[in-house]
Assembly symmetry: C2
Homo-oligomer: 404 residues x 2
């Protein structure tokens, strides 16, 4: 077991111990935000035939180039979804709507606004070159071309392209199932009355929302007493039903023994305990079979921050995403942080992008229990052990926009 | 009825004709991304009592300031969730865990790492000032303070704060129900075989995904033939079941009459027809009772762009969000757009934020039917009528990150 390890080492270990979930098939209409788990090739040309992109008349362009207004004889009409058997000969036009196939013989479409139809004759007021205003077969997608590869996130445009291929169901990585237990004898669930010495469990709710944002789903394991037998039982339950087990609380100096013994009893090997950053130092990471068990700090803000830094990368990797870590940028601090510490510290901050670059400001309350300070937090300032920060000074920042 | 109106006028009209949905109560655990519809006040102090933020010993700070290591007599233990009846007197200590209430008489907590306990005596190796390392009652939230007002988007931090108050259910604006029909006789739904002259309906899938991203939900009305009776029937169905009705196709010059007559038959008053921008000019907007009917272009890319510019603001307003419009920034174009047009044009683009500011690049295919060009599109360059764009030139850009 490793003790007091660096963030980067902990992240590396967690990523090494997690793999992508197995693919599942979902309906295209329910695939927004999911991550593609297969390579998709185009099975047909889009559009599948030369078609009109507007309402007007299919003509031979050469008939419109001289002697305007030209008078063309109307020889038919093609509603969208049908076709025209005859050929458009010299001096004739066929009425056409957006999406109608271009009839044989025609090589251009003139839009309705530039024409006038009366008694079977179409007056053409503008020239159209041969080839103009036709949506060519395959101009959007060519049959056989590679459209998407695994890891592609499905946004509306990808979904539309899959629909244009007639695809109704698609393989995506399953949402990682994260079993989530909250330890702490003082915890009550929301909606219950509080007894003296008790507080409401907020960690379950913040973490479940974060896990959802990372593309995972939460299986609630409820509240657990800080007892070896209870904890071991809950870990076994989580390992049996989920891809990853997370507990909050139970990783601090005073509770480590209980958690470590529970892990041992559940057959979980402890990989590391405690990480060299604040808040969130109390963290315990175990492993059984191919499943990770991660115990995070029970302090609300510390739980969120260590979840963003350690659990997030794991869940996003499992969900099939290609970027695992929060993005790092250089920012200018607007506030000062005068209290140096022997441990690297992540200051919860709000960054904005200004003309001159990123700037970071932060609330004065940075205690691990102050959840209110997480409101509006979209970044973490990375303050090295022994350092302080002056207003105006440059600092390293993790952007959390997609993470919290 | 207005014709060929400016984007801004169309947006204003649409916002004037839409209101917030009625609130509904949801479980806190399912509230991520929803918009709060009530003002929430803190009903209790958080934490509700002075508590320990770490594992260690509750002491009288004065007993640790001189003569280190101090030896204090261990007089009890407070597991989290329980309380301690006796008082901590001079020269004594009480074993305490993270979250335990601070016992009477104690005024500081010393962390376990700075102590050693043996035979009922706790050796203290570091001084702690009175008041140190105590999480004070109400330091996170004070009973009676206003926490959130309507319009607040619920992210993990808000959800955690609501949980810390014991709140199990919360009032949010209902997801606007958008009934969505696709008109076009050439359309087939995915999973069905194509006949000659037919194409797959992609608009339903792109728009449903966009509506979901804006906080709405889609009620599918299926494929509709371009016939007055069919269209009117579908509009009635949509008006009866949804908060807003959207059709794609049927708003172009050649199909306007059918749609307008269908609207009339369904009791819908036409407010405007056609908007002065490309792609997406064919758009028809009607109104009945308190419900909007919006007909968008059937061309796939045009449908997405006009949806982002016109439907998005309406749905986001209905969903309770406070920002309705895509954000506007100044960018430097990396590409050129040489084809000037008599109509204002929105060029689908990809913008990135560089050291020197935003830069925009765009695919060469900008036809309204080319859906592929929407892949990676995260912005629209706003090109005025009659203008062209040179590489290196400044341009106005709408950011679509949250919109497409």
């Amino acid at each position: 077991m490793l003790e007091m390890i660096e963030l980067e080492q902990a992240q590396e270990l967690i990523l090494a111990l997690t793999g992508r979930t197995s693919p599942e098939e979902v309906a295209l209409v329910q695939s927004r935000g999911r991550v593609l788990a297969e390579t998709v090739y185009s099975v047909l040309d889009v559009p599948p035939f030369d078609r009109s992109p507007l309402d007007g008349y299919a003509v031979r362009g050469e008939d419109t180039l001289t002697g305007l207004p030209a008078a063309l004889r109307l020889v038919g009409e093609i509603p969208a979804g049908s076709s025209f058997a005859a050929t458009v000969g010299p001096g004739t036009a066929v009425r056409i709507l957006t999406g109608s196939p271009i009839p044989a013989g025609a090589n251009a479409v003139i839009r309705q606004e530039d024409t006038q139809e009366e008694n079977g004759v179409v007056q053409i007021f503008r020239p159209v070159r041969p080839g103009a205003d036709i949506s060519r077969r395959g101009e959007d997608l060519r049959q056989g071309e590679e459209l998407f590869t695994p890891g592609r996130v499905l946004t509306p445009a990808e979904i539309g392209i899959l629909a244009s291929q007639g695809i109704r169901r698609i393989k995506v990585f399953s949402r990682p199932r994260v079993a989530l237990a909250s330890t702490g004898d003082e915890l009550k669930d929301v909606g219950q009355p509080l007894a003296p010495g008790q507080i409401y469990n907020s960690n379950f709710y913040t973490l479940a929302a974060m896990i959802e944002a990372w593309g995972g789903q939460t299986l609630p394991l409820g509240l657990v007493q800080d007892r070896v037998s209870d904890l071991a039982e809950v870990m076994r339950e989580g390992l049996a039903s989920a891809d990853l087990v997370v507990t909050t609380g139970g990783a601090s100096v005073g509770t480590y023994d209980v958690t470590a013994r529970a892990m041992e009893r559940a057959g979980v090997e402890v990989k590391f305990w405690r990480a060299a950053f604040k808040p969130g130092t109390p963290v315990i990471c175990g492993y059984k079979g191919d499943k990770l068990v991660l115990g995070l700090s029970g302090n609300p803000a510390a739980a969120m921050i260590s979840a963003a830094l350690l659990l997030g990368p794991g869940v996003r990797k499992m969900a099939g995403f290609q970027g695992f870590h929060p993005k790092r940028v250089l920012a200018t601090s607007k506030d000062e942080f005068a209290k140096s510490s022997g441990t690297r510290r992540f200051i919860r901050a709000k960054v904005v992008r200004e003309e001159s670059g990123w700037s970071a400001s932060f609330p004065s309350s940075q205690q691990p229990g102050i959840l209110k300070s997480m409101l509006g937090t979209n970044a973490l300032v990375d303050l090295a052990a022994g350092s302080t920060l002056k207003a105006g000074q440059a600092c390293n920042v993790f952007l959390l926009e997609e993470w919290i």
